[in-house]
Symmetry: C2
Subunit: 354 residues, 2 copies
Amino acid sequence: MTKRTNDNGTERITMTDIAKMAGVSVATVSRVINDSPGVSDENRKRISKLIEELGYQPNFTARNLVRQSTRTIAVINMQTLGQLHAQPASGRMLQGIESVLTSNGYRCTILSRDEFAQDMSELRLIKGGSVDGILLNGAKLNDPLALELTQRNFPFVIIGRAIGLVNSHYVDIDNVFGAYSAVESLVRLGHRRIAHVCGSQQTNLGVERLEGYRRALLEAGLAYNESLVIDAGLTRKEVYTSVRRFFENIAQEERPTAVFTFNDFFAIPVIRALLDLGLQVPRDVSVIGFDDDEASQYLNPPLASVRAPISEMGMKAAEMLLKLIQGKQIDSRQVILQTRVIERDSLGSPSPPA
Amino acid sequence: MTKRTNDNGTERITMTDIAKMAGVSVATVSRVINDSPGVSDENRKRISKLIEELGYQPNFTARNLVRQSTRTIAVINMQTLGQLHAQPASGRMLQGIESVLTSNGYRCTILSRDEFAQDMSELRLIKGGSVDGILLNGAKLNDPLALELTQRNFPFVIIGRAIGLVNSHYVDIDNVFGAYSAVESLVRLGHRRIAHVCGSQQTNLGVERLEGYRRALLEAGLAYNESLVIDAGLTRKEVYTSVRRFFENIAQEERPTAVFTFNDFFAIPVIRALLDLGLQVPRDVSVIGFDDDEASQYLNPPLASVRAPISEMGMKAAEMLLKLIQGKQIDSRQVILQTRVIERDSLGSPSPPA
DNA sequence: ACGTTCTGCGTAAACGTTTACGTTTCTGGC
DNA sequence: GCCAGAAACGTAAACGTTTACGCAGAACGT
C-alpha cells in the first residue's frame, strides 16, 4: 500500500516524521507534546519549535485508541416529533453545554432520539467506545436508556429529572415550584378559573409543571379541575387548534380568565387563538408562560413568564459530567436551579362580571 | 498493565474474543462484520449469532484509525456574540443536517466560532484527522477559514454563500431575490418610504439581503436612501433600542411606512418598538421579516415574511458534503433554494396623509 | 575509587481494528 | 490423475499514538 496522503498530495505529518527530523525517538516527541517530564530543555525547545513550524497536530484517533477515551460526549435530545430543535430552549442549552465542553478540551456530538423508538440504538455509541459520557436532554418516565446506562455504570447526567431512577445525576430547574409560582401570581391577581396548556405527559417536564399548577390551585383553595387542563400536543399548530376549540366550546361564565402554558413556545399560539376569537389579552384572559425566552419580552403583549436559567442548566450539567468522567469529587448528585416569575403585560386582573 | 475493564468490572468484548469463541481468526470475524465475501455460510451464521448474543460492537476508534476516516463531520457555526444558537433558524438547520448524517452512518459534532477570532483553532480538527468534512454555517467575507480549507483541498460545504471564494461548494437560499421580493411586495402595497433593519454587514447574509432591498427600491424608481438603513447590531435588545430611537427622531412626514427586517428574529423587537411609540402595525407601519419562523404566523399581528427552506438547506448541504467525501459525482457545486413571500396581517397599505 | 540515585532517552508493546497476501482445501474440466 | 482456479481462511502488517521498562551516563555521596 502506498503511503497515505492528503488529497493535495502532501503527506500527513506524523510523530515519526518529527522524531526523525529532531534526531530523537517518538517517545521523546510524545513526551514534549504531553508535557511529560524526562526530556532535556534543549530537546524540548527544539522539538516544540519543529512542531510549531510544521504545524503538526497529533492524530486524535490514534491517541484516543491508546488512551481508551475520545474526549467526546454525546448530547442526546428527545426528538419529540422533530420539534425539539425548533425550541429555543434547546438552543440556549446547547450553547451552554458547548462552551463548557470546548473550554475543557472536550467535544460534543449531538443526536436526537425518537420518543417512541424502542431500539436504544444509542447504546452502540457507548459499546463502540466512541463517547466518554452522555448528556441526556430530557428523559421519559422510567427511561429505559437511563436505566441501561446506570446498569452499565456509564457516566451520564440527565438534564431534567428522571422519575423512577434513584440516585441518578441530574440538573434541573425547579419545575414544580416554577409552575406553582406562575399560577400563584395569577391567583394573587384575582383569577379563579385558570387553565393549563400542559406539555407531554410522557416527559418529566410536562408532569412536573402540571403538578405545580395543581398544587397552587389546591393551596389557594381552588378545585383542581381536569377539564381546565388542555393536553394540546407537541406542535404550535396543535396548540392553536386545541386552545381555539376549547374557548369556542366553553360557556362564557365558565371561561377561564387566565391560562398558564407549558412554555413560551406554546404561549404564542395560545395568544393567537384567543385574539382570533375576539378575546383580549390580558383584558379577557391573562397568559403566563415558562422559560422566559429572550423574545418573550418583545411580544405583543409582552409575555409574562417564569424565568429559567436554561443555558446555565446546560453548563452545570456539562460540568457535572466532566467531573464524573474524571472521577472527581461531586458535591451533589442533584442540582436544582431556581426560577422566578417575570410579570409582564400579558397579566392582568380578571374583569368583574358584567 | 492489567487488561482494560469497564467500571463495572466486566471486560470489554473485543474482536479477538469473538474470534476465539468461534474458533476462527479475527480476519474472519472482521469479514462477517463488514459483509465482506470469503467466509462460509456456516461460519457467517455462527459468528453473527455470537456477536448478537454478546452484544458485541466494534470499537469505533480502532476502526477509524485503520480506515483513516472518522465518519464524523463538524458543523461550525458563526458565533455572533453568543446569539447564534438562540436563532431558531439554526435549530431548524441543525435538525436537517443531523437527520441526513445519521441516516448515512455519519455523526456530527458542533462548534461555534467567534466572528472576530483570528486563530482558526478549527484547523486542529482537520489536522488531527478527527473529522472527515466540515459544514460551514455562515461565512465571513473572504472567510480565512474557508480559504484555508480550499487550499488544503479539504471537503467542506458552506451554508450560505462565500463571497470572494471561487468555485466553492455551497447551498444557499436566494437572499437577494428573497429580500427583493419582500420589498417589492411592500412597494406593490403603495409604500414609498421603506426602511431596512439590516443584518451584520460582516456576513454574506446581511450584505445580500441589503442588496435585495436596494435593488427593489431602484427598480421601483425609488431612491436608495442610506439613512433608512438601520444597522442595529446583533441582539434583539440592540434592535429594539435602535429602531425606537430611529422612529423617535424622525419627522412625521419622513417616517417610513414600512420596515423590512433582516429576519423574523429582529422583526419581533421592531414591532415592539413601534407599538411602544404608539404606532400601529400595520396601520402606521407595515413590517415584513425573513425566514418565516414557525412562530411568525402566530405573532400579533401575524408576521409577513419570506419563507426560507432552512431545514432543507441543512439537508442539501449535508448531502453534498457526503458526496464530496465519498468522491461521488456532484451535479452542481452550488445549490440555490427558492424563497417566497408569505403575506400576513403585519402588511397593509400606507394610510393616506392626513 | 566505588556504589547509588537521578536524568534523559530509546525500545517495544499495546490499543482494536482492516486488509493485502499467502496458504490450504475443494471443485471441476480434461 | 493432474492441474487450474476458486473459495475459505489465517498471518501479519499497518494505522499513529502512549507508556512501561530498560539502559547508559551523569551527578553525588562516601
